[in-house]
Amino acid sequence: MFAFTVKRILQAVVVMLIISFIGFAIKHNFGDPVRDLVGQRVTATERAEIRDRLGLNDPFPVQYARFLRDALHGDLGQSYFFKKPATEVIIKKAPATLELVFCAAFIIVVLSIPLGIYSAIRPKSLFSRFVMGGSIVGVSMPVFLTAILLIYIFSVELHWLPSYGRGETVLLFGWWDSGLFTVDGLLHLVMPSIALSSIMLPLFIRLIRSEMMEVLETEYVKFAWAKGIKPWRVWLVHAFKNTLLPVITVGGVQLGIMVAFTILTETVFQWQGMGSMFIESVERSDTSLMVAYLVFVGIVFVLVNTFVDIIYGLVNPTVRVAGRQ
């Protein structure tokens, strides 16, 4: 187990190095910090002087090493547009995105488990067919289209829910800008989180259903039936417990993937989170902030994946043995 953990962590470090290298290469080639720092009137010699002082004339490896050292200290450079450290900008936007992901994940968990279990134990019933049919339509529906439809129905036609922004927020612990504790904020959260969950919900329902159906065919479930245990106990305690393992593994990774979909959801709803910040930074060619986001998301992905892998290795020994070859 120790060797496995070390191997996974080493792999994570290598991946992070690659990501940071790609990020730095982009920044190095496509951004000109001097142009963004100074105005039009500064002469060429002064510019050269600034370049020299900022160390932009140093060879590539030296600059990369400096970038890495700064990144380890949490400094990912200055955002050209906001004129603030990029890390600060990202951290300020992070709560909005995290709350969105959290609410969407909540919807997914609450809905997918009962729906998945039901359609596994009653695969022929009308309701399960309806759920399965709905889930394939859901898979085929791009997340931004779901969001647009929601806006059209509930904001434009019915005027029930607000269509953009986060609404009223309260400040928690001095920095966490939360919309979870005001009615207005919660109303603003409804549509974005439904839209964001709509992409993963069908996948989870199908996953839970197929895993559960597989488990229901196994010998020990048949044995439980033969013992005359009550049906709900067989379904929930015997069968469902054992479908949880693969579901959690896949689920952990999928939750990371939801970060990608926040970019789309946030753009539709003008949600002031990291995703819309990223798209804005692309439009403003704010390479520094773009790269910072890339590195930040890279860290999140790598952490989540490594964590899930290690947990999986703990629970399921065959993975570590197979990994050793």
């Binding site: 792999q11 496509f30 394939i136 791009p142 990371g256 970060v259 990608a260 798209i279």
Partner: protein
Amino acid sequence: MRSRWQRFKESYMLYSFLRDHMAVTCFVILAILVITAFTAPIIAPHDPYDTKTIDIMNAQLPPVWSDGGTADFLLGTDAQGRDMLSTMLYGMRVSIIIGVGAVCLQAFLGIVVGLLSGYIKRLDNILMRIADVQLSFSTYMVAIFIGAIVQTAFGVAGYDKVAVPLIIVIIGLAEWPQYARTVRASVLAERKKEYVEAARVIGLSKSRIMWRHILPNTLSPVLVISTVQVANAIMSEAALSFLGLGMPVTKPSLGSLITAGFEYIFSGSWWITIFPGFLLVTLILVINLLGDWVRDFLNPKLYKG
């Protein structure tokens, strides 16, 4: 010797296909969509690329059945006065070309990588690690990042000329690992079989065994994921276009049509967004359902992941 056509007519595949009403319906709808998309220059009532025929006075006309609609524009017009129906047909053509093109590219990359890593032990570890890492990021994320990098690198000037091949490359690069893993998994299963050993005993070269003996036997899982991947690629393209990293409005795909109409949804012009959206969902849905049928029919052991 019976002709190919006759053999096809008597095959089990056609029989089970015709028995499945869902698959037949989907196939018919898909065929209609593809045919109308590619005959768009002939059958479309207007030419959305021809600026001479566009009149801004016709902008935002509703569909023919609501008040103010004219029979000239069956499904209404968009904000620039282009006929929605024609624009959608042209847009669907762009979407399908990008979807199929991107899948060809990713299939090519994936098959080469999958074969190499399945058959040559030394390459296996490194290639699969790369695929793993890329898969652990979602394909959307990779596509969005590459798109963003390309946009900042080359700017917007002249973008609409190179947009189609560029997006094909972006989506192709973002989604190849799926193929690589599938191909590798079936190569690993095939290479243990006797016919490969026999080929090796005869003294055939490695590359000949790989391309002529193993590859044909790994094609059925490739076929299965290809159908679903076309739908995925069309979705990715729509997502990229929605973020402004895909097709420009002057040469719209279904995704950029939806984006363009989004601003007008608040003023009540729902048709500019909803019609292309509906068409996009129909297209993806029928491809997905057909993909399900192909998977059930061929039933290969797919890489689970």
